[in-house]
């Protein structure tokens, strides 16, 4: 309690140096005046009285310094002095200073760049439930990078039937970049959206929960079933001002009406549903 009080008093004193110094000097001057007066009464000459008063006081400059150290934050004072000295030196030698700043900037920049990549790719877990148990099944045939690493619907269904190693096998349409229902019309200006067509069990397998509404029903995932869409959280906020009444309304995507069944949590993936199976030759990729 007393220590806290003292710390606060020291902090206050740190910002009130000038008035406190004036007060201290007045006090010490009055001290010396008392001493001289007493010495004069003892019959000393004025000169000797002043000299003895100073001797007994024991170094006015030292006493002032002790006073300042006791009342303020001496460590901070020293630090500020050092910083001032540093900046004076740097200003004197501008060439050196700018090279030093440049090297620091490059070093820090490079570190940030590398770390942000490492953090995203290696350190941050996937935003799904039990990310360490997720496996991406990919075939190794053909050339063409990720575009070739896919399975047919028939193969996917075969995997599901014979799956014993995983809790579930699910899939999504990997060719969502050129998918044909990403044009939104009838809601202000038409715009291009990006979405992914997913299998019925895709979101439950990843442990994704909707923030509003619900996930897709089996009916909505059957071939020729009702068309339904889940909105991404940021898109919902941007386009519909986070209006919860959007759930249940229809959106026209590529001239076909989709019912909005829900909104995903943030951060989220945008996921227009509906079955890749309506379009049999598309080959879905897998999450297992």
């Amino acid at each position: 309690m007393d220590a806290l009080r003292q710390a606060l008093a020291r902090l206050r004193a740190f910002f009130r140096k000038a008035p406190l110094d004036r007060d201290m000097e007045a006090e010490m001057a009055s001290h010396l005046a008392f001493a001289i007066e007493e010495n004069l009464q003892r019959g000393l000459s004025p000169q000797e009285a002043g000299r003895q008063a100073l001797v007994r006081f024991g170094g006015v400059a030292q006493s002032k310094e002790q006073h300042r150290e006791a009342r303020g934050l001496p460590a901070l004072d020293v630090l500020i002095q050092d910083l001032r000295y540093t900046f004076r030196t740097l200003r004197r030698d501008r060439g050196f200073a700018s090279v030093a700043v440049l090297i620091l900037a490059l070093g820090i920049g490079a570190n940030i760049a590398v770390f942000s990549v490492v953090s995203t790719i290696l350190l941050r877990p996937l935003p799904f439930r039990d990310p360490q148990r997720l496996v991406w099944m990919a075939s190794e045939r053909g050339v063409g990078g990720l575009s070739a690493v896919t399975y047919t619907v028939a193969a996917y269904e075969e995997f599901q039937r014979h799956n014993r190693s995983f809790q579930d096998v699910t899939g999504y349409d990997p060719f969502f970049g050129d998918s044909d229902f990403t044009k939104l019309t009838g809601r202000g200006e038409p715009q291009e959206l990006s979405g992914v067509r997913v299998a019925e069990n895709f979101l439950p397998t990843l442990g994704v929960q909707p923030a509003l509404g619900r996930l897709f029903t089996p009916e909505e995932c059957r071939k020729g079933g009702r068309l339904a869409v889940l909105l991404g959280h940021s898109f919902w906020q941007r386009q519909f001002a986070a209006d919860p009444a959007i759930v249940g309304q229809a959106l026209v995507l590529n001239n076909r009406p989709f019912t909005v069944v829900g909104v995903l949590r943030h951060p989220s993936i945008s996921a227009p549903s509906s079955p890749w199976s309506e379009d049999g030759y598309r080959r879905p990729g897998y999450h297992g």
Binding site: M28, G58, Q66
Partner: protein
């Protein structure tokens, strides 16, 4: 040759100041310094200026309070007085010093070569 004056141990000056103010009531810095010198029989080596660091410390801890005023001979001076919390602290510190000096006395009274009485 007169005996050498005693150097003050760390922390003892604060206690002396508290005791002086408790005994004498309101005093200015010079008065406190003189009282300590007198009470110690001029056996203490006190640079009077060091008393001001001690006064600041005690004030910041809330053990003494200060106020500018006028002395008997009409001189402006800063007068210090002990607070209630200062008295509590004084009681604690005085008890501590008495215990310590009692222990030191007993230890140094041990018979044997060197030291002792």
């Amino acid at each position: 040759m007169p005996e050498k004056k005693l150097d003050l141990l760390q922390g003892t000056l604060d206690l002396m100041v508290l005791q002086t103010l408790a005994a004498m009531g309101s005093l200015h810095g010079y008065g406190i310094a003189r009282r300590i010198e007198q009470a110690s029989g001029d056996a203490v080596l006190l640079n009077q200026g060091t008393i001001y660091a001690s006064l600041v410390r005690l004030q910041q801890r809330g053990w003494i309070s200060a106020e500018w005023g006028t002395s008997d001979n009409n001189r402006k001076a800063k007068f210090y007085s002990i607070t209630k919390r200062g008295r509590q602290q004084l009681a604690k510190d005085a008890a501590y010093w008495q215990r310590l000096s009692g222990v030191m006395g007993r230890v140094l009274a041990m018979p044997g070569e060197g030291g002792g009485r």
